[in-house]
Structure formats: C-alpha cells, structure tokens
Symmetry: C2
Subunit: 256 residues, 2 copies
C-alpha cells in the first residue's frame, strides 16, 4: 500500500453499492458484472482524513475505488501551497488509468474518514478486457471526470467566489444523488472549509464569508458537515448551473 494512513477511523458508514450504482448509471451491467463489482467492494480499507493514498511521482499500481467518505486529488507546490484538483466521492474510481500510467502527476488523499478498495493493475486490465459493461462504465465515468475538470477550470477562470461556491454545491448535489447519498434537500458533506477553500481557490476566510452570503441569500446553508439546500432554484441561478456535463451521451458502437 502506498501510504500507511492507518488512522483512527470511527465508523465510515458502509456504502457498498456506491461503485455499482455509479457504473450502472452509465452502462448496462450483466448479473455477472454486478457480482464482480460487489465482490470488489467487499474488503475495503479504512483510511483517516489527511492520509495520502498516492503521492505525486509514484506509480499508482492500480486503481482506488472510494466506497464511503471523500478523498481528493491534489497538487502540491514546492513552496507549500496546494490545490485540490478533483474530488473522489463514493463510487468514484482513482485512477482507471492506473492501468496505463506509471507516474502520477498528482497526489491523492482522503478528506474524511473513508473506506477505499484497491484494484491492482492486472485485475483491472482483466476486468476491462473481459467485461464490456464494466469497461464502458469506467470509460464513461472518466469522461465525466474530464468534463468536471474543464468545468472547474472555467469556474476558477471566470466566476466570482459566490458563483463558484454555488456551482460546486450544485455539482456535489448531483453527484451525491447519483449514488443515493443526497436528497433534493441536502446531503452530508464530509469536507472541511479549509479543504473547500483549497478547491475553490480562495482563502478560508473568504470562503467562510461566502458561505454566510449564500445563507443570507437563502440559497444554501452549510453547517458542520451537512449542507442544506434552502432554495435549489436560487442556488442554480447563482451558479448558472447546467448539469448536462455530468451526464455524458455516449455514441454506440454502431453509430456513425
């Protein structure tokens, strides 16, 4: 295993279906595939917040599947600054290109008490080679990941702090709903304000004020580890949020 990260991990709720739900949202899975995916999630490792899964420059050796909690990919600057470049939420896979890439260009770490399964490279290759549904689901998940990356980039590039924050919340709402971890009214967000601010490219102080502003405007209310959506319309409007980037429309094998 890459980084020890054996931390006191109270009780991450088991969310054994996350991977299954996620892939099923992108592809039709056979009974056999469903069985395999369930078995993959059977022996998770518990990791505590701030413990690294993978460090920049290392060989990932395979892929990680997040089953509960939350993790992230991040970039660290020599000077000490860091930036979170993606969230790994239950059902997300990091990194399916573990099959391909020998040297990660990012680090990965848990953000909360989480449980994580590891799929070594050979197994991953076998799975995608043999099971078309799994391969297709992973491909689609990857396309979504890339679309999210572009969206985050555009957010940082041309939205204000308030808009960016609202946009992130809208995205998270959608992503958690896909795996059954959110209702329309809100969800558990096991991520600290410090980490949110590292994601949104602003200081903690400013994020905090932005959160108060979102609450004041009656859009969303984050307190403790729980986000309540007060007015989804307003939140969506502030963010100019359009969820289509999270739902790829795939071309069939046959299509022109």
């Amino acid at each position: 295993m890459t980084a020890g990260g054996i931390c006191p991990s109270p009780e991450p709720r088991p969310e054994p279906d996350a991977l299954l739900r996620r892939l099923a949202s992108h592809a039709d899975l056979t009974e056999a595939e469903i069985g395999i995916l369930s078995r993959l999630s059977a022996a998770p490792r518990a990791v505590g917040p701030r413990s690294d899964l993978l460090r920049e420059g290392e060989d990932p050796g395979g892929a990680y599947v997040i089953l509960s909690g939350a993790a992230c990919r991040y970039k660290q600057r020599p000077a000490g600054g860091r930036h979170i470049v993606s969230y790994l939420l239950p059902g997300d896979v990091c990194d399916a290109d573990g099959a391909l890439l020998r040297r990660a260009d990012f680090s990965a770490a848990a953000l909360a008490h989480s449980s994580v399964a590891f799929i070594p490279r050979p197994l991953l290759r076998e799975l995608t080679a043999v099971h078309d549904g799994i391969a297709q689901g992973l491909r689609a998940a990857k396309l979504v990941e890339e679309a999210i990356l572009r969206m985050w980039l555009a957010n940082l590039g041309c939205r204000s702090a308030l808009e960016r924050t609202a946009h992130l919340f809208c995205e998270l709402l959608e992503r958690f709903q896909v795996v059954g971890l959110a209702t329309g009214a809100g969800f558990d967000l096991p991520i600290t304000q410090v980490d949110l601010s590292l994601t949104l490219g602003m200081s903690t102080v400013h994020l905090n004020r932005t959160l108060h502003e979102l609450r004041r405007q009656g859009a969303a209310d984050l307190r403790g580890r729980s986000l309540r959506v007060l007015d989804r319309e307003r939140l969506t409007a502030i963010a100019e949020f359009d969820p289509s980037y999270l739902r790829p429309r795939l071309a069939g094998r046959d299509a022109s």
Copy 2:
C-alpha cells in the same frame, strides 16, 4: 524559423509532420502507420481566427487534428463571459473521444489562421482498432492533455498572475519543441493577448502589465506574435515549472 515572428502568418505554414511527430514522441510507429498519419494530414481545411470548429452541446462527429496555427477548447457563460480551457497546438487531437462522446461539453475554435484535418468517427475507430501504435500514441496524448488540465487548474487556484503566465510560457515552450516549432530561444505564438488573458483568468489589462513585468525581470519577452525566452532558468524559477507532467511514463502491457 521558429522564433522568426516576421509577420502574423497570413499563410499558415504547412506543418504536415506535426501529428506524426507528436504521436511518435509517445509510441513506436510502424512504416504503415507513418504512411497513414501522413495521408491524414494531406487534405487540411484552412480556418480563420475566431471561427468555431465545434459548439458546446453538438455532436463532434469525429476528431480534429491541428496541423498549423492554434485553436482552443473554451466554455461560454450565458452572461457572455468565456474561458479557454485548453490549447490545441499543431499535432494535438481534438477530440479522440469524438469516438465516444455524442455531446461535447465545450466549444472549440481557432485562435489564429490554422489548418485542420478532420477524422470522422468510423475512420478513427478503425485506426485505433487496427493500428496499435496509433492507438497507443493517442492514449498517451490524451493522458498528457488531462495532466495539463490539472496543472492549469492548480495554476489558477494557487499561483499569482506573474507565476501563472510564466508557467504557461514554459509549458508552451515544451509543447512547441516536441513538434519542432520552437528552439530554446523562443517561438511563434499565434495567440492574442485577449485570448491569453481568457486562458489565464485575468483581465487583458492585467495580463499586459504582467507581460511587461516578465520582460522587466529579464525572463521572457512577448511582442507581436513572437515570444523570446530571455532567461529560461529565471522563467522556470518564477513558474516553479517541472515538465514531467508533459512526459507520461507508460506501463507496458506486461508490467504488473
């Protein structure tokens, strides 16, 4: 020559080898594959600056190959703001997932007079199915693209205007060198300050001042359409630039 910067290239110099050079930098190509790639570049389409190749929401229908000039992927906000999320330089392919995706989550446009080849979906599929070298080269190119995306995100998130600009220049220097369009001393950069500022997430005014600062510090000098690197060490230092994200180390089929 590369850093000539004589005129704003009304006639895009044919750079027929760009794709070939690019893929060859990632994979070993057979004679047959080299022939195919050359033929692909044979009938390019000329496009003027600001003309769209693809609009968000549309079906790309295939992939575009940039042969000369420069293009970009961008996101447009309803309000009118826009942000450039990646550059498509000679030898780049947009988007190899044209094979997979039916609805683009971004628009693409030329930034300068450019020549572009189009590969329809069926041909693209056949190529990657039959020719392993091409498939491998495209996969690697895609991994680099993704790494660049992450790097850009981190840049926006935690670097100052000066650092970001320097970092972009370092990256471009590397990328142009791969396809033989830059010497260590500089290169032709057929991109306006407005477009650079849309990339770097800052106002044109501020970019302009940042460019002056880079020149004042003796690091780089952009004037007209030509970037002269005055002191590569200093530029690299300002940017904290490390090129390893541009050079993926791939896992062989056999490797564990």
